[in-house]
């Protein structure tokens, strides 16, 4: 599980970096642009992987880690964008 956890962290960070390149960073996080989404992605991937290992088979944990990570990155952009509009 340790090796898998490290893989999930790395995948999540990579997807977070891709999201950053894709300009998905919420405006409020622009000051920490290159850290925010990779950290969020890594955390979401790790959480998704562990949840899946508990609820589904181990075999699908990496796939769950991936889609939960991407969904979290998208959700962060949507929610932060919405609260920015509300605050404006």
């Amino acid at each position: 599980m340790l090796a898998l956890s490290l893989i999930w962290l790395a995948l999540g960070a990579l997807l977070g970096a891709a999201a950053t390149w894709g300009r998905l960073t919420p405006p409020r996080w622009e000051s920490r642009r290159w850290l925010a989404l990779p950290v969020l992605g890594a955390g979401a991937a790790l959480l998704g992987g562990w949840l899946s290992a508990l609820l589904l088979d181990h075999l699908f944990a990496t796939l769950v880690a991936i889609w939960l990570c991407v969904a979290s990155l998208g959700a962060a952009r949507l929610l932060a964008g919405r609260s920015a509009k509300v605050g404006a």
């Binding site: 899946s52 796939l63 969904a71």
Partner: protein, 408 residues
């Protein structure tokens, strides 16, 4: 006085910057699209039963064609344990090798699939490909149970062995975490035929998920006829066929059940690894007429007398061969049947699976039949080209998809 430099935005510079901006925007859109695709594909593959079957089948396919466990399974699969146990049956003790995941049963779908592996005659418990397959299945979340009996290990086919298969199936259905109607049978060689016979038993007939027969026979009498002719009837033409010594010996030992003790002893004295059975003229003369008929059938040295030799066997032989043939129970089968056979099989004629498939079609029974070119009986040939591997690999993948559906 210092001079001032003024940058003039020429049309070329402005145009270049616009192009750069366009490329950057396109890159951003492509990246976002790629992330969306990754989200959709990974969600579909992990959350839908079809997706999970596809992932399992893709990861297990290498295990079916090599003797090593695929690296992704070793890394991402469940931890497993191997236990052995024995259960009683009409055929005596049934030896079980169980390979199961050690992690708790997943909440989705709530029960594991169980697969009973019947490796055929001989003691195959330590065969690398079988162990590798069982371990790979377990790592993918399936409980794999390999079975054998003393009868099978003695290269003999006997009706009580069918009860042993049923007993093993029931044991697997009761295994902790396995869904009762999530259990299928995968039989290799004669194991496939035994699996089909067991599938007709009322104790498991309505709960069995499927039977997969890889290189099995359909009618023991027609297989004996093929041995006697040393030729196969392929689309109305007789094609020469030289069998391996194993089916020759197995048929000789099996027929020995209905022959005299003397005949059995004489036949056994001629067993060898080159031809299966070979007796001197003096030993042949000591056989009874029934024993001689059996000898000529299994050795194929009287191809023109096959029908006469079949008629010379004792009536008990016809009953025995019928009771060992899936042909006799085809109307009682309920579970889907998957038939796999290689055209160059020298253990069991591929025409047996063709006949089985044709009979299932006539019965309107759900089944799938695939003919391969990459296997020698049930083991992958060496030195294959990429074309045959891809073609047969795709067919095998589709069968795996269907067989692993209960696990999803």
């Amino acid at each position: 006085m210092a001079s001032e430099r003024t940058v003039v935005a020429t049309p070329q510079v402005a145009g270049g910057k616009r192009r750069q901006g366009r490329w950057r925007r396109a890159g951003v859109i492509a990246l976002r699209g790629a992330l969306a695709l990754v989200l959709v594909v990974s969600a579909l593959l992990s959350l839908t039963p079809q997706g999970r079957s596809a992932v399992r089948a893709a990861l297990l396919l290498p295990a079916l064609v090599t003797a090593t466990e695929p690296a992704p399974l070793l890394l991402a699969g469940d931890p497993i344990r191997h236990t052995q146990s024995t259960i009683p049956s009409q055929d005596g003790p049934v030896y079980l090798d169980i390979y199961a995941p050690t992690s708790p049963t997943p909440a989705v779908p709530g029960a594991r699939e169980g697969l009973l592996l019947i490796p055929g005659v001989g003691d195959n418990r330590g065969v690398a490909q079988l162990v590798n397959l069982a371990q790979s299945l377990a790592r993918s979340g399936v409980v794999a149970m390999a079975m054998t009996t003393d009868t099978l290990m003695s290269y003999e086919l006997a009706p009580p062995t069918v009860d042993a298969v049923v007993a093993a199936t029931l044991a697997l259905q009761r295994y902790p975490g396995v869904g009762r109607d999530h259990v299928g049978i995968i039989g290799f060689s004669a194991g496939g035929s035994l699996g089909a016979l067991a599938a007709a038993d009322p104790r498991i007939r309505d709960t069995l998920a499927f039977v997969l027969s890889f290189g099995g026979y359909y009618d023991a009498t027609s297989m004996l006829r093929d041995l006697g002719h040393r030729a196969l009837d392929v689309d109305g033409k007789l094609v020469p066929w030289q069998p391996d010594p194993v089916p020759v010996q197995t048929m000789a030992i099996t027929l020995g059940q209905v022959l005299s003790e003397s005949d059995r002893t004489i036949l056994a004295s001629g067993f060898n690894i080159v031809n299966g059975v070979e007796l001197s003229p003096a030993d042949q003369a000591r056989l009874s007429p029934a024993g001689q008929a059996a000898y000529h059938l299994v050795t194929g040295d009287e191809p023109a007398q096959v029908n006469a030799n079949l008629a010379a066997l004792p009536p008990e032989a016809q009953t025995l061969l019928a009771s060992l043939s899936p042909r006799s129970v085809i109307a009682q089968l309920r579970a889907p049947i998957y038939l796999l056979h290689d055209r160059s099989d020298i253990y069991v004629p591929f025409t047996e699976s063709r006949d089985f498939a044709a009979a299932l079609t006539r019965e309107g029974h759900p089944h799938k039949f695939v003919e391969f070119t990459i296997f020698q009986h049930v083991e992958v040939k060496s030195g294959l080209g990429i074309g045959p591997l891809l073609r047969d690999g795709w067919s095998l993948y589709q069968v795996l998809l269907a067989a692993l559906a209960p696990a999803a």
